[in-house]
């Protein structure tokens, strides 16, 4: 399969915008659709990545009205290569969510609007599922590319930590955030990865390592990784493994010690880092501005920060608590050492083969089913996507089956900087499996 992108001229662009506005009123894929006439290969960008002249809110009222006057490096590189940004995609506020419901406008699954689209890059997955040959620039902290890609039936690549510059990204958790890509096939993703990856002097945490394509013929199934998943998901996954086995891959079931700690360790690190990043939103410098200057210092900032959503408030409070002097060793430092331990253990397997699992432990849920679940229940839904995200390992989610009309995704993980091997693996998969997409808007 060859890379393909939707190219539109200025006239075609207006038509595309009209089509998207109609669909967006039902699906809530976009926070902003750019009506400025343009031409090029069409991409969309998650609303926590800055595009010059288009609002960037990360779906938060705290940032409403903020219009970046600069491009994120990833956007700059794509625009220089003929890509045009059609709009900013919906997401859970600041990336805090797994279902796309922590936003003013709940994202709907394009296959059936009663179901969630997944989060936090919900809009990017919907846009990719409904626009012909689409590519969307997304971002993952703990599974925000894989989960929505799986629920919406598209391919989502989360690259090695540091492989893509984060200059121009609205931070969630600095030691975990990774910009990545969603698309309709692996070749298109490879084309885009070639453009956007590579060191950037504006981001000192971007790395100079070359991305590799070291093929593996062994697939590890981590049994304690998949022990609590839905039976239907497990059955379909077993069928997938049989297919890979008959294609010549060697399947090996193993156990990784201490993997169960990855979920709490991830949430400790991400909340601690998020609470410092969100301290800067005070209704004064960025976005929404409070104009009651007669208020005192504390009163003013407390009033301005009322605009955070409930999940953001929860994470700010918890993150601040965790960072307290008396708890730093108990939580933050312990979580750091768990990360080091899990990297070491996963690496020992990833040197020999890929790790494969379903992307999500459940079938795509209905929006009504997840609205009232507890935070701990929601966090537990990330159990399969957290380990590679915590450890910065590149991973890809790709559609492999359809259950009652909704897609199922599988997740493949490889060692640091072997990102192109994932795309190569999925490229072979695509030779024998035809994806179904929700729509073909052009």
């Amino acid at each position: 399969m060859k890379e393909e992108f939707l190219y539109v001229d200025k006239e075609g662009y207006s038509k595309l915008v009209n089509h998207l506005e109609n669909r967006n009123s039902e699906l809530n894929a976009f926070n902003f659709i750019d009506k400025t006439e343009k031409e090029g290969k069409i991409i969309s960008v998650k609303d926590n990545i800055c595009v010059q002249g288009i609002p960037a809110t990360a779906s938060s009222k705290v940032l409403s009205g903020y219009v970046p006057n600069f491009n994120a490096t990833v956007v700059d590189r794509l625009q220089k290569n003929g890509f045009a940004v059609v709009g900013k995609t919906n997401m859970d506020e600041f990336g805090f969510g797994s279902f796309g419901i922590n936003s003013d406008k709940i994202a709907h699954n394009p296959f059936d609007q009663r179901y969630v689209a997944g989060g936090s890059s919900s809009g990017s997955a919907i846009a990719t599922a409904i626009i012909k040959n689409h590519i969307s620039i997304a971002e993952s902290t703990g599974g925000s590319i894989s989960t929505p890609a799986s629920f919406c039936g598209v391919v989502g690549l989360t690259p090695t930590y540091g492989a893509i510059s984060r200059y121009g990204l609205i931070d969630y958790a600095n030691s975990l955030d990774k910009i990545g890509v969603m698309g309709r096939n692996s070749e298109s993703l490879k084309y885009v990865m070639n453009i956007v990856s590579g060191q950037d002097e504006k981001d000192t945490t971007s790395v100079s390592n070359t991305l590799e394509e070291v093929r593996k013929d062994k697939l590890y199934v981590i049994d304690n990784f998949t022990k609590n998943i839905n039976q239907t998901v497990l059955d379909r996954f077993e069928e997938l493994l049989s297919r890979f086995s008959s294609d010549g891959y060697k399947i090996e079931h193993v156990k990784i010690d201490n993997l169960d700690y990855s979920l709490p360790a991830y949430y400790i690190l991400s909340m601690a880092e998020a609470s410092t990043n969100l301290a800067k939103y005070q209704g004064f410098k960025y976005g929404h501005k409070l104009k009651q200057f007669s208020m005192g210092y504390n009163e003013f900032f407390t009033e301005a920060r009322k605009d955070f959503g409930m999940e953001a408030k929860r994470r700010i409070i918890l993150g601040t608590f965790i960072r307290g002097k008396s708890f730093k060793q108990k939580y933050y430092e312990k979580a750091l050492s768990i990360r080091a331990e899990i990297i070491k253990r996963m690496k020992s397997f990833l040197k020999e083969g890929f790790i494969i699992s379903p992307t999500a432990p459940i079938l795509t849920p209905k929006i009504d089913e997840v609205k009232d679940i507890t935070p701990v229940e929601e966090y537990s839904m990330d159990m399969l996507t957290i380990p590679p995200n915590l450890c910065g390992f590149p991973h890809i989610s790709f559609p492999y089956n359809y259950e009652k009309g909704l897609p199922l995704g599988a997740q493949l993980i490889t060692d640091h900087f072997n990102d192109y091997a994932l795309l190569d693996f999925v490229s072979h998969w695509e030779e024998g499996f035809k994806y179904r997409f929700a729509e073909e808007i052009s």
Binding site: Y161, K334, S337, R339, A340, T374, P375, G392, F417
Partner: protein, 89 residues
């Protein structure tokens, strides 16, 4: 978490909550802390990693370039002619 600690955190983070929100969030946070406490069963090593991959840690050279940034800096600011106003300290 004790009520006094929770109230102190609200003050420090400058988050104000209604009565119902406060009850819900306080209960949620205690549940989450129980979930976090699971990591105490892990016997800690002193092997930390702040980044998941090795980062060079290079910092940029300081350069003094006149970029005429005032216009850019005030791009999202309120339009006052010679000043920007802020809250009382």
């Amino acid at each position: 978490m004790e009520k006094a600690d929770f109230d102190k955190l609200l003050k420090v983070t400058r988050i104000s909550l209604g009565k119902d929100e406060k009850e819900k969030l306080s209960a949620d946070i205690n549940d989450i802390l129980i979930f976090f406490d699971k990591i105490n069963q892990f016997s800690s090593s002193n092997d930390y990693t702040f980044h998941p991959v090795e980062i060079d840690g290079k910092t940029r050279e300081d350069t003094n370039v006149d970029k005429a940034e005032n216009k850019d800096m005030l791009n999202n600011a309120e339009r006052y002619r010679f000043f920007v106003i802020g809250p009382k300290v």
